[in-house]
Symmetry: C2
Subunit: 252 residues, 2 copies
DNA sequence: CAGTGGTCTAGACCACCAC
DNA sequence: TGGTGGTCTAGACCACTGC
């Protein structure tokens, strides 16, 4: 990371200094950084410059600001998500998305925000091969690890399919989860695709995921196809970029 | 994106305003934004505030600053990368990584930076199951589309394998590319994994990819295993986040 | 040389938090 | 109420570009 010694900006160098101190334990995980005023004094620069340096650390997810209180060093470790393995585990009855959390010995929590019939947004409709605003079942939830939000997951199922399995309207869709319910009614997923992008969070995502306008998020556009290759479910995952490592694998 | 009407920061609102103007064609792709001084005048704010607003657009990749000259609206469209398809195409003789570029009618270019024997970095060594600093063949290249850098790709092959196929030392490794050469010597790739992360670019990546310190990059840690499930190649792809959509798919 | 963005400062006011 | 970070300003100096 460190280079020969370009005439770097002060805020860039200060960010590096603070990062070194985080990594060598001067500022341990979970502890607060010194206040920006104090750092400005110590380093002989204005607070604006310190603020900008801290901004770099925030973008990268190294620290998290508690408004009015202070700036804390990130506590959560990076979470691994193995696309294939997680759905395999799910098929064996493991609950939704706490596969990853358990692996890391984190306490997992899922909060459902909304389970209801809703008109399909345009992009979802296109993926599902139905018309915009045709009815779908939405299952929208937020996942937490150690009480910190780790992802938003919004699933959409065409209503003509979903209505055949009333259990899909429950938070707990029963043994094996919603994919097993789809299997019950002859639409068990046989093939998946995921499109991964990075982007800046929307205002809502900033609020829910406790992110800042400058912190990039992963978006995973997950599509499940049944045995006749008909798209039967779309799930949009939005997750803080610094928090996740996504694993994919294939043969041949 | 837009919400009820939170008391948003000025720079945030200005960023939204500028983005609207980009999207509605007021500032077309490839054209310059008005200077920050002019915008500050027009909007009745200080230049620092405009600078900060433009900073948000830069992070998201909507504009690109030409130092000393001006700020341009991004011209390149998003590039799709289908992990499975690209290696399939490669096996049929298509050159390295211009699969995606061709799809988008972009002019593609590959510049090799280094093809040489080199000691394995620690993380590469760990993946390849060899010891740190044991010799590997590195093939390091930068890919461009329409003369803009789109990715850095550094491939490592254990030297004990690579030395059996001298063509791997050529920029053009022959028909079918380097994977065919590995097949020639009994190490044809049979299985792949990719680990995807987002992070901030290093100084070198900023320079090569013409990025700014705040623009996130995708890192793809690509590993090829031969028929005996021995790791025979690691490729690290680093690419501007705003530029790519990564597609993965699997059955069952 | 003039125009552009990059950075820095000192000072200010605000919203939010904990006490 | 005092401490924290969020934001804004006016003014300044710099490096780089293109003429």
């Amino acid at each position: 990371m460190a280079m020969i010694e370009t005439p770097r900006s002060q805020y860039g160098q200060i960010a590096e200094l603070l990062l070194r101190r985080i990594e060598d334990g001067t500022y341990p995980a979970g502890s607060p950084l010194p206040s920006e005023d104090r750092l400005a004094d110590e380093l002989g620069v204005s607070r604006v410059t310190v603020n900008r340096a801290v901004g770099l650390l925030r973008i990268a997810g190294h620290v998290k600001v508690k408004r009015g209180s202070g700036t804390l060093v990130r506590a959560l470790p990076m979470i691994h998500r193995d696309a294939k393995a997680r759905y395999a585990a799910r098929a064996q009855g493991t609950g939704a998305g706490d596969v990853e959390a358990r692996f890391h010995n984190l306490q997992s929590k899922t909060v459902y925000r909304r389970i209801a019939e809703t008109p399909a947004p345009e992009d979802v409709a296109e993926t599902l091969g139905i018309k915009k605003d045709q009815p779908t079942l939405i299952r929208s939830r937020v996942l937490y690890a150690n009480d910190e939000p780790t992802q938003i997951a919004d699933s959409y199922i065409p209503w003509t399919i979903a209505e055949k399995s009333p259990e899909l309207l429950n938070e707990n869709a029963g043994p094996g989860g919603s994919y097993e319910r789809l299997a019950d009614i002859g639409h068990g997923p046989a093939r998946f695709t995921e499109d991964v992008t990075v982007r800046m969070p929307t205002d809502e995502e900033q609020r829910v995921l406790e992110l800042e306008p400058t912190q990039p998020v992963f978006q995973i556009w997950h599509v499940a196809y049944d045995g006749k290759d008909r798209p039967v479910e779309v799930t949009v995952h939005v997750m803080p970029g610094y928090l996740w490592k996504l694993r994919y694998g294939w043969d041949e």
